[in-house]
Symmetry: C2
Subunit: 371 residues, 2 copies
């Protein structure tokens, strides 16, 4: 990709991109020439070893260090301009004044959207742990619990199962802690973030998710909790029912499953992501459920998204998306409905795109699960 | 401050700064003119109400919207250039081509470092909850536990006590989940992040903190867990001892407390932050403990930091800091030592700077606490 775009070298500093390129996070950066060996410019931790590892203190010393190692000055320099703060990018562009700076963020995003077999393996491992936690959710529920109390027990099970906790989101505008457990009308509370699920949250500093409501009979509980067990996450939602749930909500839950089955059939390399969204929306409309589709008072503008190190990777399954599905994309599909006075219903699964269609990585039961 | 710097208006988008200025987080931005009423440009959530609230979709529509409200075009425009990604800043500067863009990040940082009484009240409330959790830690410990197992029980207690979980760190380079529980030699494992405590972590994607080590007799457990209960956090560490701890570690723990007492006496408005660091370092050296001060294989380069919405606010208590303490700064002081084969020892407290000195907000017992 760098050759096609005539980028001589890239300077990579974002933690998710460092992890993608090296398999670990460190404080520092990677100087990635189009040809030849990358150089790992490390500040911390001390005592890293390996080919190409160089300790440095001042950013200004980098050009001399690279020259010393026989690397030519770059004619064009890729920088993560969609992520790196303005003043930092300006500082980097001054390192090689002759180099033309180029935004390498879209290319990194594109590269990361097609997973390697090793990355898929790490996501599969997360999926296995994620499933194991979800299967045990009914056991930790007690009547009278609040959404938060149930969430805390799920957090505990997840962490003991090896969940790393960190819920990585690219960019700095979306925040959430460990996931979302939502019941009753709180599912209809609009949040500032572009997640499929809202919720008022516990505090105006983090207005999303559980708000301390008691889980009441006749309400659903949607669980959409962190699946990051390996640095690569699965994304999975399941809906639990406390007591009898009204027919409209049951119908919407079945509609979500039918949408997933339809998308599983359609999705394959080469298909436009937006056609998946259109199919999902059309099915919701045909079932006369479009008022509740992906929210009620506030609607999310997508039905799925790429996942991996972060929860908002490419491709985006949305009406105006220009993304085209490729083999080894890993995506989450989450056709959800918010039914007033009942709660959210629906299912979210994570999938690998294979030549013949989708392979599901989150195989916990999909029914409306009794609590 | 904007008047002094001749900044006509600022466009604020960072979540922490939005929360600082409005008391809540929303998706959108604040147009803050030097004179007159701010305008809250909101994308989500739907249904926000209040003076100056305007819904918008495209960033390009903002200048027309503001003109429509009778606001003059800004001659200089403050942008959060230390935080906002490069491409976003470029997009904003194109909104008013005649305006001179100015980096407002240092000014926001400076403004936020002096807390209002309301902010101090929120931090105090966090401190009360934080203390309550720490006092109960010995009750959830069981011999044979790993550091992770103990941390998970503390996470659970914290969340049930109302901890919001989100551990806000300014900038995108430092990551941690919910805090740090560290025992034995894992305290001496260097991490990539500039925290006072290291630890190998559970996975190379998040190499910090608990690594699954069993808590052994003769080892300490340092607990440095999230104190964000209100959107404004306290920062507090306490050291627990499992069985008898060797004299060197006991001595270092007492030295930490003596350093805190000395800094509590010295610190007042007008004092240079670096003199606090120098005093702490000198006391460690006089006690012949400088090899272990703020780390052993890897040393952190500070002994304290401002706290509030984020854990790395101004002032910075470090050797080359140019910060000067001001009334209503809120700071954490954390003289810590890492003793090989024992673990980390020391105490961290959060304080408000008052005209007569420091007032402590984290009043849990400071002794080496038996498990």
């Amino acid at each position: 990709m760098m050759t096609e775009a005539a980028i001589a070298a890239a300077l990579i500093t974002d933690n998710a991109n460092l992890y993608y390129l090296t398999g670990r996070v460190f404080a520092g950066m990677i100087y990635l020439p189009r040809e030849g060996q990358p150089v790992y410019l490390v500040r911390r931790p001390v005592e890293l070893e390996g080919k190409g590892v160089v300790y440095f203190t001042g950013t200004r010393d980098i050009p001399a260090e690279l020259e010393h190692r026989g690397l030519p000055k770059p004619s064009t320099l890729g920088l993560e301009m969609d992520l790196t703060p303005y003043t930092t990018v300006i500082r980097y562009t001054k390192l090689w004044r002759e180099a033309t700076p180029v935004n390498i963020s879209p290319m990194m995003r594109q590269a990361r959207s097609v997973k390697t077999p090793q990355e898929i393996h790490l996501i599969e491992r997360s999926g296995v742990c994620h499933e194991r936690v979800y299967r045990r959710i009914p056991r930790v529920f007690k009547p009278g619990m609040t959404d938060l109390e149930l969430q805390v027990e799920i957090e505990r099970m997840s962490r003991l199962e090896g969940c790393l906790g960190q819920f990585r989101i690219s960019g700095d505008t979306m925040e959430i802690y460990m996931g979302n457990v939502i019941t009753g009308d709180n599912a209809d509370a609009p949040s500032p973030y572009d997640f499929a699920m809202g919720g008022a949250g516990l505090d105006p500093s983090l207005p999303v998710g559980a708000d301390g409501s008691e889980i009441r009979r006749g309400n659903t509980v949607m669980v959409d909790m962190n699946g990051n067990f390996t640095g690569y996450m699965t994304d999975m939602s399941r809906t639990f029912a406390f007591g009898d749930i009204e027919p409209l909500a049951q119908k919407a839950h079945e509609c979500s499953r039918e949408i997933l089955r339809a998308l599983e059939q359609m999705a394959r390399p080469g298909i436009e992501a937006r056609t998946l969204y259109d199919t999902a929306y059309d099915m919701a409309r045909e079932a006369q459920l479009e008022t509740y589709f992906m929210g009620h008072r506030q609607h999310a503008g997508f039905v799925g998204h790429g996942i991996g190190i972060e929860v908002n990777e490419a491709p985006v399954i949305a009406p105006r998306s220009r993304d085209i599905l490729a083999e080894r994309n890993v995506i989450a599909l989450e056709p959800k409905f918010v039914i007033p006075h009942v709660g959210a219903v629906g299912v979210e699964n994570s999938y690998v795109v294979t030549p013949t269609g989708l392979r599901c990585l989150t195989n916990a039961p999909e029914d409306l699960l009794p609590l």
